[in-house]
């Protein structure tokens, strides 16, 4: 099955490991991700002001590009892109007045009415592939690897874009259990890492990272698994500030869900780009015999 796919900027650079491992994994699971042609920035944050329509153009144009390819659905990997595209699509579907203004403005595009469905790749794994089918394809079980699922904000909030229960999501737990990992739950699973505050207030992100990571470690986690490139950066890069500050803290590897999925499907570390991961994941993966 072919599925239109919107990558977004960060997946082509810092989060290459998220993209390549997901594309390879989905191929193994009989889904070919077909990149949307001429895609542009998704806008990253959905415009929240009632009187600001111009910032909706970027995500809407991407949805139009997907429709031009004849797609009914577009799959997204980056949590920020997912949120921005999904919300913009709902606006075009449900708000007649704003839809008309936006369509009138985009002279070169044909009227768009929110026809394309925006889905996150985790939803595709759950609803299209199914946990049972993934389990059948597992070649290397992650047995013995203790992971905490961390969702962050943009896959779950606001309610109308949530891919799972807003307060008690289970989708990452199900995926991790399917590929054999031992899942540890922790109270920070749906809390924000501080997001773009990393630009102007990095010290507060260091505090957030400590709260989140130390809670995971106290519960016996060996790694954190997530979906968002910004959470990955905030919880990963800040570890260099935490190591000298807390003598007990030795760091904790941060993985994208797709990297662990790819390993379990026997696709090897080449598609995972672990060199871009924070928290030095290789010693842990070697000790669990997941990589040679």
């Amino acid at each position: 099955m072919d599925l239109s796919y919107y990558p977004g900027c960060t997946l082509k650079t810092k989060a290459k490991g998220l993209e390549d491992s997901a594309i390879a994994s989905l191929k193994t699971l009989s889904i070919d991700l077909v990149e949307v042609q001429r895609w542009n920035c998704c806008g990253v944050t959905y415009s929240l002001a009632d009187d600001d329509l111009v910032h909706h153009l970027a995500p809407v144009r991407n949805l139009i590009r997907a429709r031009e390819q004849g797609s009914k659905r577009v799959g997204v990997l980056c949590s920020f892109c997912y949120n921005s595209l999904k919300r913009a699509n709902l606006l075009m579907k449900n708000d007649q007045v704003k839809r008309k203004t936006l369509n009138d403005f985009m002279e070169e595009e044909k009227g768009y009415n929110g026809e394309v469905e925006v889905v996150h790749i985790l939803e595709v794994l759950r609803d299209d592939v199914g946990w049972g089918n993934i389990a059948e394809k597992v070649k290397i079980s992650l047995k013995g690897l203790k992971v905490v699922p961390y969702y962050g904000c943009t896959l779950l909030r606001p309610q109308e874009v949530a891919i799972d229960h807003v307060e008690k999501p289970t989708i990452l737990r199900s995926l991790m259990e399917t590929i054999g990992a031992e899942v540890i739950e922790f109270p920070y699973a749906t809390e924000c890492c501080g997001s773009f505050q990393i630009i102007g207030n990095p010290d507060y992100i260091t505090q957030r990272a400590w709260d989140i990571l130390s809670s995971a470690l106290r519960r016996g986690a060996e790694a954190l698994v997530l979906t968002c490139p910004l959470c990955h950066f905030n919880l990963g890069e800040r570890q260099q500030e935490l190591v000298p500050r807390y003598s007990d803290f030795k760091g904790i590897p941060i993985f994208y869900f797709s990297q662990l999925l790819a390993l379990s499907l026997g696709l090897g570390s080449q598609v995972c780009h672990f060199e871009l991961n924070y928290g030095d994941p290789l010693p842990l993966l070697k000790s669990k015999k997941l990589i040679p």
Partner: protein, 135 residues
């Protein structure tokens, strides 16, 4: 903190502007405090999120742009999904930031970020940061 309340302030342009930009019914908030209880950036705020909406209800605009709070809100929408009165406080925070940013006043300046840091940061951090914090 001493606050002067007047009918003039309650019906000021400021109150109307926040309601208009955010699209929220500000008087729906009954100060239960659930937004502040769940806010992940609360530890660093000088005015709590529920206090911000109270100040807006009363039209006390002077303290808000000076406060760190509206700039520390990361738009995570924890408050928005938990509000029992259906107020989207994330949108109110956005409106308050925009009232300052639309006067062409930046909260962060691109020039203040070093070239090394720019290379390290993922693009989504930069774009969202500048979308939220610059004019």
């Amino acid at each position: 903190m001493r606050i002067e309340i007047s009918s003039q302030k309650l019906q000021s342009d400021f109150v109307k502007k926040v309601a208009e930009i955010s699209g929220q019914d500000l008087l729906s908030c009954n100060q239960c405090g659930k937004c502040s209880a769940g806010c992940p950036m609360c530890f660093a705020m000088d005015i709590l999120p529920n206090q911000i909406i109270r100040l807006v209800q009363l039209g006390v605009e002077e303290d808000i742009p000076k406060s760190k709070t509206i700039w520390l809100c990361a738009s995570c929408f924890t408050c928005s999904v938990r509000c029992p009165r259906g107020v989207d406080l994330g949108k109110v925070m956005e409106a308050l930031r925009l009232i300052t940013l639309r006067k062409n006043i930046d909260y962060i300046e691109a020039a203040s970020i070093s070239a090394d840091r720019l290379r390290e940061l993922p693009q989504i951090a930069l774009v969202s940061g500048f979308r939220k914090h610059s004019a």
